[in-house]
């Protein structure tokens, strides 16, 4: 591909769309596992408790934090899309919205790290 054809990738809007898509894909892969884990409660409280205690491991906690971060990032990206598509925007405001969504994601990450 030529440099010219790839020039759109320098746009912050393209980056925002890519982050939104990748975070959504990761969540879609994770969701069945999440549902299977919760479904353990069908076999009784002991099964679910065993899973919860297994999830106390530092690496699992880290992965959980990452998933919550992806969820927040995807939600903010979606909110950005809904606002852009449904409100009357002027030049540069779309880029501003992408920057604000990015900053919000960083703030969300800091909050997550402090809370976990």
């Amino acid at each position: 591909m030529t440099v010219r054809r790839l020039a759109y990738r320098n746009s912050i809007l393209w980056t925002a769309a890519l982050v939104h898509r990748l975070s959504g894909l990761a969540l879609a892969i994770f969701l069945p596992l999440h549902f299977l884990a919760l479904g353990l409660a069908i076999r009784g409280e002991v099964q679910l408790e065993g899973f919860l205690r297994w999830s106390d491991q530092p690496l699992v906690k880290l992965a959980e934090g990452g998933l919550v971060f992806l969820l927040v990032v995807h939600m903010l990206g979606g909110l950005r899309l809904l606002l852009i598509e449904n409100l009357d925007w002027r030049d540069r405001q779309k880029e501003l919205a992408a920057v604000v969504a990015g900053i919000s994601a960083v703030v969300a990450l800091i909050l997550l790290v402090r809370m976990f």
Binding site: G24, L31, P32, H34, F35, G39, A41, L52, L82
Partner: protein, 108 residues
Amino acid sequence: MNVRLYVWQRATAALMLPLVLLHVAVIFYATRQGMTAADILARTRGSIVWAALYGTFVIAAAIHAAIGVRNVLFEWSPLGERRATMFAMAFGAALLLLGLRAVAAVVL
């Protein structure tokens, strides 16, 4: 993406916005309290509110994710539109079944 799928994608996104915020708040609460399975199930079992909220969340998420997966497969994989749609429908149906089973497991 056709208009019908586009509208479903955006409608389920709008519906899930408050549900995601609620879910993140629940995650924080449960984590900070160090809740056990007994604590969680004592709050959720028999609750019509939890069943309605999370039942709605699962249905919306299954539709939203299926449409998203279809779009990604269609644009990024060698699968054609028809195969991407079939895979996405199967994925959405699996999500719906597993999700509703999980809700039933914690509220019934």
